[in-house]
């Protein structure tokens, strides 16, 4: 994947680009994204992938002007426009799924193919989503992975947690990224999407890891019910980071709406 920059009204946005095929935009989750993420490599085998960093993430500067869900949605639509793409396959994971769903609801004629992977955005009183903003780093793997031990190894590989300079940079990045995410996810990751999903016209697939403990799989049917004709794909032995634990299954699901 190549790292590039595209100008938008709000900030110069860094994005990753690679692969060949039909254009596909991938929107990352609250945890962020790196060029080495397995989902990007897997998607790049079939599609021309564009994966923008939300302001505050990666090397994209923070943007104080982006405050609420509408700001996030329109900014991301601006990015798609600035990339010169028309009606790309729109894919979002978790927070990125929430943004993708909003884009499809707001401009239903601009989005004809949509893949939501364990998206945020709905709230069921009987199935409260854990408060990710109180979780300590060592607690995260249990919420994110089907196999927390393997997940913990993945998350900490390459981290020099004994190095104070590294730790400071890590804290700053974390505050910047999750501070931004908090604008649409804190304290409850719901901003009225349920009332707008009826507008979505896209052919839609919803993908959920069967062992998701961050946003429980019960949210899958809730999304599927709210979007006309949406298909729900459940992936066994995968958690919230199904894009890490089984990228092939995610790509297969996306291919089902691509044509």
């Amino acid at each position: 994947m190549e790292t590039k920059t595209v100008a938008t009204r709000h900030a110069p946005v860094r994005y990753l680009e690679g692969g060949s095929g039909e254009p596909l935009v991938f929107l990352h989750g609250a945890g962020g994204m790196t060029a080495g993420d397995p989902i990007l490599a897997a998607l790049a085998e079939r599609f021309r992938v564009f994966a923008p960093f939300l302001p505050g993430y990666g090397e994209t500067e923070e943007c104080g002007e982006l405050r609420d869900m509408l700001d996030f949605t329109l900014h991301t639509a601006d990015v798609v426009e600035a990339l010169g793409l028309r009606d790309p396959i729109l894919v979002g994971h978790s927070m990125g799924g929430m943004i993708a769903a909003e884009m499809a609801a707001l401009a239903p004629n601009d989005v004809s193919r949509l893949a939501l992977i364990a998206p945020a955005g709905l709230w069921l009183d009987d199935h409260p989503i854990p408060d990710m903003f109180t979780l300590l780093p060592y607690e995260l793997p249990a919420y994110l992975f089907h196999d927390p031990e393997a997940g913990a190894k993945l998350m900490t590989s390459g981290l020099k947690l004994d190095d104070p300079e590294f730790l400071k940079a890590y804290l700053v990045r974390n505050a910047r990224q999750l501070g931004m995410a908090g604008k649409v996810l804190f304290p409850i990751p719901e901003r009225g999407l349920a009332g707008r999903l009826y507008r979505v016209k896209a052919r839609t697939v919803i993908v959920w890891g069967e062992s998701d403990k961050m946003i429980p799989p019960v949210y899958g049917p809730a999304f599927a019910k709210a979007i006309a004709g949406a298909r729900l794909v459940t992936v066994p032995e995968a958690g919230h980071l199904v894009i890490v634990e089984n990228p092939a299954a995610v790509v297969e699901a996306i291919e089902s709406v691509a044509r």
């Binding site: 405050r67 903003f133 109180t134 300590l136 505050a175 999750l178 501070g179 908090g182 804190f186 304290p187």
Partner: protein, 421 residues
């Protein structure tokens, strides 16, 4: 010097195994540990102690705001202050403060503070904290990365509501009000003095300097550890070419325990100090700092949360550690005087928030310690800032002649109309 007697109002019945059985004293503390019937005594005793401090000659009595918190049963400090306004005579009512980003709309704070100022005859000192992440974000649901912007808007709205004499429209991002016109307004002009609790961010230093507000560092870790942070403030005061570096531009909270001798202080108070530092500060680290609550600049300067316990936790700190490390200033009046002098000189602070009630300290011991401080320590510290004598910019200006509560005249007697036969 201005000495304010402060009570955090801790719940005094946290069990011995609180730390082992509970993850946090704050935010998700076990409801069942609060006993409303017992709280009746607790509240009244705590308010009696604040009133007692007024009779001892403290310059102020202080209250603050916390939510869902086992060491502060005062979600509304204004309710406590209203009671104190009626039952005290001279002390400033230091409400430190109202977390103004939480009120919707914040004119509520302008109104309630105005009421307190009017009822007390101009004795209000108003505090405007951003609020801790526990209170503001986790208990009251404010979005961390937007909290400061909302705070700044609330501040602007309150000051305008206090100072403008004609109704005005306020088209804010978080508050849209067509007719702002508070009734009543405060006695003190242009408005009551403002103190801002801060935790080391440059933005807050500048905010205080720009508005002539007093910067308060409300820490539990004592004056020795506070040196770097307060020096940061004074460096900033110098950098910004502030007209003066009056010590009244700053305040500091310090736990203080006085007895006849150092040994007696340990014997009387170590249990209660241990209760506070061991049980009351047991905050789950996941609540300490919601991402986005602190600015990137502040994190980069390394100002870490005071709620993050020292390595190894407070449990391992003995009375000796706490006293020698300056968390607590304790001992005979002479010992306490020496250490208070050190504090005042090293931090250059004119406002001291004296945490005289500690943890589960019973009223009689608290009165003993407070009286010794007022009689044997305070008078010796009074003359420490001769060069700033008369700097009253950061303190309240009460009416010279104030109403006495509870003094109604005799009831009206209708004139007897003679009956005609």
């Amino acid at each position: 010097m201005k000495f304010t007697w402060f009570n955090l109002m801790p719940w005094p019945y946290l069990p011995d195994d609180f730390r082992e059985k509970n993850r946090s004293v704050w935010v998700d503390i076990d409801q069942r540990l609060f006993d409303p019937v017992k709280s009746h005594e607790v509240y009244n005793t705590y308010m009696d102690l604040l009133e007692y401090a007024d009779t001892l000659g403290f310059d102020g009595i202080g209250v603050n705001e916390h939510h869902q918190n086992g060491y502060g049963i005062m979600p509304s400090p204004n309710i406590i202050a209203a009671g104190l306004a009626r039952r005290t005579k001279n002390a400033a009512l230091v409400v430190l403060g109202n977390s103004i980003a939480l009120y919707n709309p914040p004119v509520r704070v302008a109104e309630e503070f105005a009421m307190l100022d009017c009822i007390s005859g101009g004795r209000l000192v108003a505090g405007f904290p951003v609020g801790t992440s526990m209170d503001t974000n986790f208990c009251y649901g404010q979005i961390p990365a937007l909290t400061r912007e909302k705070y700044a808007e609330a501040h602007e709205l309150i000051i305008r509501a206090w100072t403008e004499r004609d109704p005005f429209a306020f088209n804010g991002r978080y508050n849209k009000l067509r007719h702002v016109n508070i009734w009543p307004r405060p006695i003190q002009q242009p408005h009551p003095p403002v103190h801002i609790p801060g935790g080391g961010s440059v933005e807050t230093y500048d905010f205080c300097i720009d508005n002539t507000y007093s910067y308060s560092y409300l820490s539990f870790s004592g004056y020795i550890r506070a040196k770097a942070l307060m020096q940061g403030y004074w460096d900033r005061v110098a950098e910004r070419n502030t007209p003066d570096a009056s010590p009244y531009r700053a305040g500091f909270a310090q736990t203080i325990c006085v007895a006849e001798t150092d040994e007696e202080a340990e014997r009387l108070y170590s249990k209660h100090v241990n209760y506070f530092y061991n049980r009351c500060l047991h905050v789950y680290p996941g609540f300490a700092d919601a991402p986005g609550y602190r600015t990137i600049k502040t994190i980069q300067t390394g100002a870490l949360s005071q709620y993050a316990p020292p390595r190894g936790g407070y449990t391992q700190l003995t009375w000796k550690d706490l006293v020698e490390g300056g968390h607590v200033i304790a001992g005979s009046p002479e010992t306490v005087r020496q250490r208070m002098e050190e504090l005042i000189k090293n931090l250059n602070v004119g406002n001291i928030f004296c945490l005289m009630h500690v943890g589960d300290m019973p009223a009689d011991k608290c009165m003993y310690s407070s009286r010794l401080f007022a009689e044997k320590v305070m008078p010796k510290l009074r003359g420490m800032l001769p060069e700033c004598e008369g700097d009253e910019r950061f303190w309240c200006h009460p009416l010279p002649k104030r109403a006495t509560s509870g003094t109604l005249p005799a009831e009206y007697q209708p004139a007897r109309v003679p009956e005609h036969a």
